[in-house]
């Protein structure tokens, strides 16, 4: 509800309902929701936790609400940003005009661990690199949204967006009757249309699309199988595929079948033991060869991690301007790059106030939240920082907006972020209204990652 006091307009209807709803009802609905999730099997695996290898992500039954005008601004900003991301990737692996123009420093690209020299000068089918992007957004006041992170590799969470909605409709049919909530259920159709649109030109009119998963022990396996199911495509593991004469086939009960598009949820370095990590058993030997021969499309393209990097993130406003010629609609969080001398000095002086993140870290690991850290933690971090300043960026702790959330002690404000999913095909960009709202379940906490105990809630874009 933002920093400003009172209830924002889109919440008016919901808040009237909340006032009337008894704690008993809310409690009942919450346990029903948990039962649904457990029953459907929406779990995620947690590495290193022998006890409960399959955990439920806490689900909050109070939705996060956005007005349609708020969403329209977000949507325009997202399209602009993802178009810029794709143009940037095309350029980085192509003409490199952004480097020549000095928009982004050379070494940021060439020394980036996600830069794939194999992709240099290779034109991906239809020029689309980042087919599926998850853009993390936070709100700092009623009128300002910041992009926190661009997830350009294999963003996950979309199954939660869809299942959260499904469960909410089952639990609160009356709320949906009162509020006009824009539907998100067509996401799988949009995803399939996007994937089919980027099939290699030689593919038949009805290209064969598959979803490649690392397997059922992957933390996002549920999502992989969920999506494959909704898309109506085969969910394959590396061992189900093989490459012959630069053509990818899957092993089926009727013999080999040719593949045109792979929505891969396997990271670059595990895709092909011949091209990348030789010890990996998750991938398909020869896949890169088939890719480079133009016989198969990988979504997302290999090497999109360059745009996912937190150091590159800090240049996004310039990148958006450079490629679109427009002012960025969505702002970046102000960011200090520790690789820059002045910024680094500032960061070292203000560690206690800042959030410092590893450039390539993810999931809330390897970061320092200054205001919540002990002196010891700050000093330990200071040493790491000095050892390798290039590896870090710092941001102010934001006055993140909160949403009413159903907690043990009743309805209370909790911090949230939002991850809308942006689909880029050869024809157009598709976004369903909404996304995954993640919520910090602990009071005052800013950490919303599911691996750190964060929860999720349904996201409503009101159609009024």
């Amino acid at each position: 509800m933002g920093k400003s006091p009172g209830i924002r307009e889109p919440y008016a209807q919901l808040s009237r309902w909340l006032e009337q709803a008894s704690p008993d009802l809310l409690n009942t609905r919450r346990s029903q929701a948990e039962y649904f999730f457990r029953r459907i099997g929406i779990t995620f695996a947690v590495y290193g936790e022998a006890e409960s290898t399959e955990r439920l992500i806490p689900f909050d039954i109070i939705p996060r609400v956005l007005s349609s005008s708020e969403w329209q601004t977000l949507e325009r900003g997202l399209v602009q940003r993802v178009n810029a991301l794709n143009a940037f990737l095309r350029d980085v692996y192509g003409k490199k005009e952004c480097l020549r123009a000095g928009i982004v420093p050379n070494d940021l690209i060439y020394r980036n661990p996600y830069f794939r020299p194999e992709m240099d000068r290779f034109e991906v089918p239809h020029g689309v690199y980042c087919h599926i992007a998850g853009i993390d957004i936070v709100r700092v006041d009623p009128h300002t949204f910041y992009v926190l992170e661009d997830n350009a590799r294999t963003p996950s969470g979309v199954s939660y967006m869809l299942e959260n909605r499904e469960v909410m409709i089952r639990l609160f049919p009356e709320l949906f009757a009162d509020n006009r909530v824009a539907p998100v259920e067509n996401y799988p159709d949009n995803l399939l249309a996007t994937l089919r649109s980027v099939a290699p030109v030689r593919a038949a009119a009805d290209p064969t699309v598959v979803l490649l998963t690392p397997g059922q022990y992957n933390s996002a396996f549920y999502e992989h199988s969920f999506l494959a199911d909704k898309l109506g495509v085969e969910l394959v593991e590396g061992s189900d595929l093989f490459v012959r004469d630069d053509v990818v086939y899957m092993r089926t009960t009727e013999g080999p079948q040719r593949i045109d598009v792979i929505y891969r949820r396997v990271d670059d370095e595990f895709l092909d033991p011949l091209a990348f990590r030789p010890d990996s058993v998750l991938g398909v030997p020869g896949l890169m060869g088939a890719y480079q021969a133009g016989n198969v499309t990988l979504a997302n393209a290999v090497g999109t991690g360059v745009a996912d990097d937190k150091a590159v993130y800090s240049y996004m406003p310039e990148i958006v301007k450079f490629y679109t010629g427009e002012e960025p609609i969505l702002k970046n969080v102000p960011t200090w790059r520790c690789r820059e001398k002045d910024a680094f000095a500032y960061v070292l002086d203000h560690l206690g106030e800042l959030v410092v993140k590893e450039v390539n870290g993810s999931g809330g690991y390897g970061m320092l939240v200054g205001p919540h850290a002990t002196k010891d933690q700050i000093e330990t971090f200071r040493r790491r920082l000095k050892h390798e300043p290039d590896n870090y960026i710092a941001q102010p702790t934001l006055a993140l907006s909160t949403c009413p959330t159903f907690t043990k002690s009743g309805v209370a404000p909790r911090h949230v972020d939002l991850r809308p999913f942006v689909l880029s095909g050869s024809d157009k960009v598709r976004i369903v209204p909404g996304g995954l709202t993640r919520v910090a379940m602990k009071e005052g906490s800013l950490v919303v990652n599911s691996s750190q105990g964060g929860g999720t809630k349904d996201t409503w874009v009101l159609d009024v």
């Binding site: 029953r39 059922q216 189900d240 009960t253």
Partner: protein, 313 residues
């Protein structure tokens, strides 16, 4: 369909069927062991249960005595027994999870639900009454899985592979059940009809839900060669070897039709069915029931391997 998917479907069904068979074996053993000795109650029913389950060797690596407590524990819940009911349900669920996209919501719900509900049963606190409830529950799981497959799956390869797994496993179980009891069934020409035999046979029939069926089909008191006939050659009995092979042939043919290709597994299944059609129980007893069973177990395993090679790798 992916070969791996077909493989998982096949094994998912095998393990559900295996869990049900274990429950039936334990149910029969519990009944028999409760009988007074003069009615056929013996304590080697527990050893016999292990033999039927094919778990005797694995059992004796861990336990010394086969008694009610140890056998129950081992066959129901043991983590050390790769073929306990718990493990069967766990493996079935793992396979179902791996092919979540190939099965219907109803099927997933039945299997995942069973796996979740399993946690409510604690062997350590289980008395006979609760054990009976547990075994009923296991049989019910198999019914629900079977019914949800029957009612919700599209009639195409996913469904056929699920069925193939079920009937291969069922055939194997029937044969092994007969094999363990064959010494009881053997003296066909000798004087029969003692109380001991009666209860042994009826418990055998009961373990495959066939006691009532027996009376309907033969309208006679329980006789060993008729029991063998019912479980091997009877065409009306859904748990006979014949019925298993009738189904295996049917489902393999449906696969062949869908794929437009006939292969070695179709031939092997038909050959077996033809053998069953062209023999009778007297002939089987003459040339040796044990030999017949042993050969059929081998043939059934070979068919499973052939299916594996033709479709699943």
């Amino acid at each position: 369909m992916l070969s791996r998917t077909a493989d998982s479907l096949f094994w998912m069904s095998r393990y559900i069927e295996r869990a049900e068979n274990l429950a039936r074996i334990l149910d029969a053993s519990t009944r028999l062991s409760a009988l007074p000795a003069s009615y056929g109650g013996t304590h080697n029913e527990w050893t016999s249960a292990l033999l039927t389950a094919g778990s005797a060797d694995a059992f004796h690596r861990i336990y010394k005595d086969a008694n009610e407590k140890t056998v129950r524990e081992f066959l129901c819940f043991s983590e050390d027994n790769p073929a306990s009911i718990r493990k069967c349900l766990e493996i079935a669920r793992m396979n179902a999870r791996a092919v979540r996209t190939a099965i219907t919501t109803e099927m997933w719900d039945a299997i995942n639900g069973a796996w979740l509900d399993l946690k409510n049963y604690d062997i350590k606190k289980m008395d006979r009454e609760e054990l009976t409830r547990f075994l009923d529950w296991v049989k019910n799981v198999s019914l629900v899985v079977d019914g949800s497959a029957y009612r919700s799956m599209l009639r195409r390869d996913e469904y056929w592979f699920t069925r193939l797994g079920l009937y291969i496993e069922r055939a194997d179980n029937i044969l092994r059940l007969l094999d363990v009891k064959y010494h009881v069934l053997l003296p066909a020409t000798e004087r029969v009809g003692g109380t001991l035999d009666y209860f042994q046979w009826s418990s055998l029939l009961r373990s495959v839900s066939a006691l009532t069926a027996y009376h309907w089909v033969y309208r006679e008191s329980v006789k060993p060669w008729l029991v063998a006939d019912l479980l091997t050659l009877n065409r009306e009995m859904p748990r006979s070897l014949y019925a298993c092979y009738e189904n295996l042939v049917r489902f393999l043919d449906q696969l062949a039709r869908q794929y437009g290709r006939i292969g070695p597994s179709q031939h092997a299944a038909r050959a077996m069915l033809a053998r069953l059609e062209n023999t009778n129980i007297e002939a089987i007893f003459q040339s040796g029931l044990h030999e017949f069973i042993t050969q059929s177990i081998i043939d059934n395993n070979n068919l499973a391997t052939t299916i594996q090679e033709q479709y699943l790798v």
